[in-house]
Symmetry: C2
Subunit: 461 residues, 2 copies
């Protein structure tokens, strides 16, 4: 017989072995449905279209989020999920108020601003103060103590779009802790260049955190066109002070209820720990939460349904649509607390939009190389590469991190994600139906394999 | 000698003739500067950057428009224009108030809306009414008299982006006369799908006109994402009424002053009627008026300066930066009235953004074919084609139409113009510096030829 290269021979053997293993039967059924989902899935679209049209924005702890939970529970019931329930928890609620900004001098004109989550408030009539520009977070760090007394700090950055979303980590501190840092140096307010990559007059909101002992100050994000206009004003002012009038009147409304929506595709073997598919049902208030994270909930729900359609899986597939993620992962933490003693085998989260998945990573490439390889080979036909990193999971699957359980990251293309993230522009029209279906196909493939995997995935869970 | 094809021979002869004619000396000087401007012009950018940064929005009849006039006059003086003056006129002024909309039932959520110019107002507390959808202006026309009593009319359209901007004429009636038509059938308010082509949460404002005897009703534009969300609600409501709460409180503030900014590059022969280069200095209030029409003013001013740099032109080049164009061409009409007895030789306007010029048309291809051909040949190297149509000119050069003077249209690429037109997104970052320079180059070429043209252009003017 002819000599064949070793790698090809190994591949043939492994394919033959897979064809004979018991789990591959159901896995192959889901595989066929994954192929079909790539071209025909309508479930994920139906979910995100329905949620954004019939509910819209779903700010954590508001009645709108409650309507979102009820809507999702009804959808899951209607689509044959079992044990659909809402697991309540409470959180302190922050709501937006008035928000306006205008340059008083030397170049009077309005600027478009939105308050950051947990921002402090100005008086109703606003404040007027000189603006001190910092072209980076590092510049602000270098400002002497007390040097911002009575001033408004402006923080810029040079965020760039990237496929892996890494620009967010680079620019994010301006929002996450910039206002607190400025406050600690005496600033009466902070305005930042939106942590985003688009040039539309739609600021990017998102949470900010004030350090222990630092009283919250008003903190808002300018859209990129407004931020860069302000930067040009500093250039053209040639040393004259630039003065801003700012009205931001958000407020804390007290403790209120939120909840996690949980539902199952019940497996054949209740003794096996379930796998967990997560997304979050809340959204920021400015958009309708289509990419963040209506689409993610649509993807996981559609994939679970597709796998169920191939026959009852061996292992229970549990869907977690977490509440109150945006404002501090309250839902994910409540779930981890409530289910601390119920082992999870493996967890995945979809919370990075709806553009195509380009990379698969797991946290068990060493502990379970055969399964890792099987998953990597199975998704390759959808254009998904196997990454070199170790999966750490999304915000809402802390339970899997706590338990040292299996985690898989299916990385979505983030190139345009930060054009939309936390803005009014996060609306249904931004979801590309073809890329959404590729997500469903990849998830169906991966969930189909894992839900029919009898043995250990990462830990003895 | 070798036989050469006839067309090429004709071209050689014509080029030789041009090289010997007196006007071609200066024309060629401007031609060289046009070539250079394509790569190096900074004047047009300096104008539009300065105007949008130091002044910002310039709503007709407001103090902001007055600051825009003063800023432009100062710029023109600083750049060596002669006879820089402001020619005042008055107009009734409309200003924006509060604007909010939300769906009350069956799917409560906010929608992003902006009032149309000359919209009527709701009471401060707003109105709540059922919405009747019309998927086109024609559908609204077909609605029976009185059928909209107590209702809010919603008007949709299917505008598409086009290079020549023709989609505007197709979709525009929904804004221009839709509210008046709906009011005549009893509607208490009208909301339209923005007359635009982008999917951002930035509505397109613009003027609406109520017919004689029709009392103005509140009229606003939803952004396209909001409009299409509302359309999906009609689908999903399955016959249940869709109810909207609407707050729009614009008001007329009375008669106020506006003005035209006029300046000259003085020609060598004062007996020749001047050529007129027009743009408008006012803008809608939502954006900073970069594409509409700060860039246009930058283009014409830069081209006039480039031509002057090649040597004093034969004919005076007059620059008209008209006031109050957006709200009803008040400036252009005031100019036409004030200068009715002062002949204009030829007029051109730049008021369609800052993307590349792709077509030249004149209204003297028959009356003066040699000049038309010379212009067409001269701009060909910038990628500009000669069109088959007859130029009719921009809104502000009615004076040329009144006088049967020469008119040239230098058509800009409108493919993305209606993504930005009359929106908050009309900001400096949308101006592409390379395409802006192509505009300056083409204008410099055309103005250089015309300003050094001794004979008749179209009429005996």
């Amino acid at each position: 017989m002819k000599t064949i290269p070793l790698a090809l021979a190994a591949l043939s053997l492994s394919a033959a072995a897979a064809a004979q293993s018991p789990q591959s039967v159901s896995g192959q059924g889901a595989s066929a449905l994954a192929d079909e989902a790539l071209h025909t899935d309508t479930l994920a679209w139906d979910f995100v279209e329905g949620l954004t049209t019939e509910v819209g924005p779903r700010l954590a702890g508001t009645e709108a989020e409650a309507r979102g939970r009820d809507w999702a529970a009804e959808w899951l019931n209607r689509h044959g999920f079992a044990n659909v329930r809402i697991e309540p928890f409470t959180l302190p609620v922050w709501v937006r108020g008035e928000e306006r900004a205008h340059v008083v001098a030397p170049f009077p004109q309005p600027l478009v601003i939105s308050a950051l989550g947990d921002s402090g408030a100005t008086p109703a009539e606003g404040i007027t103060a000189e603006v001190v520009p910092f072209m980076s977070y590092a510049e602000l760090e270098a400002a002497p103590a007390g040097s911002l007394a009575g001033k408004i700090a402006y923080i810029s950055h040079a965020m760039r779009p990237t496929q892996d979303g890494s620009g967010y980590g680079f620019a994010g501190p301006a929002r996450w802790t910039g206002p607190s840092l400025a406050a600690s140096k005496g600033a009466v307010a902070t305005v930042i260049k939106s942590i985003g990559t688009d040039y539309h007059r739609n600021p990017h909101t998102g949470g900010t955190t004030f350090a222990e002992g630092v009283a919250p100050i008003p903190a808002g994000a300018l859209s990129l066109p407004d931020a860069e206009n302000l930067e040009r004003m500093f250039q053209r002012a040639r040393g004259r002070p630039v003065t801003l009038h700012l009205v931001l009147t958000p407020r804390m409304t007290g403790e209120a209820q939120s909840g996690n929506v949980v539902a199952d595709i019940t497996g054949r073997d209740p003794s096996l720990p379930p796998m967990l598919l997560a997304c979050h049902i809340d959204s920021w208030d400015l958009g309708t939460g289509a990419m963040d994270d209506g689409a993610g909930c649509g993807i996981i729900a559609a994939a679970a349904r597709q796998v169920a359609a191939a026959g009852q899986p061996l292992r229970t597939i549990r869907v977690l649509m977490a509440g109150a993620e945006e404002v501090g992962v309250f839902g994910g933490e409540a779930f981890a607390r409530a289910h601390a003693n119920a082992p999870v085998a493996v967890a995945l989260e979809s919370d990075f939009g709806a553009d195509r998945i380009w990379r698969l990573e797991t946290n068990f490439a060493k502990a379970n190389p055969a399964l890792h390889q099987r998953l990597a080979q199975a998704v390759a036909r959808f254009g998904v590469l196997s990454g070199e990193g170790v999966a750490t999971g999304g915000a809402d699957i802390g339970i899997a991190r706590n338990q040292n359980a299996g985690i898989i990251d299916l990385s979505q293309d983030g190139t345009r994600y930060f054009d939309l993230h936390h803005t009014p522009d996060d609306t249904l029209d931004k979801v590309d139906p073809a890329q959404l279906r590729q997500n469903v196909a990849v998830w169906t493939e991966v969930v189909g394999i894992l839900a029919n995997q009898p043995g250990m995935i990462r830990s003895k869970n």
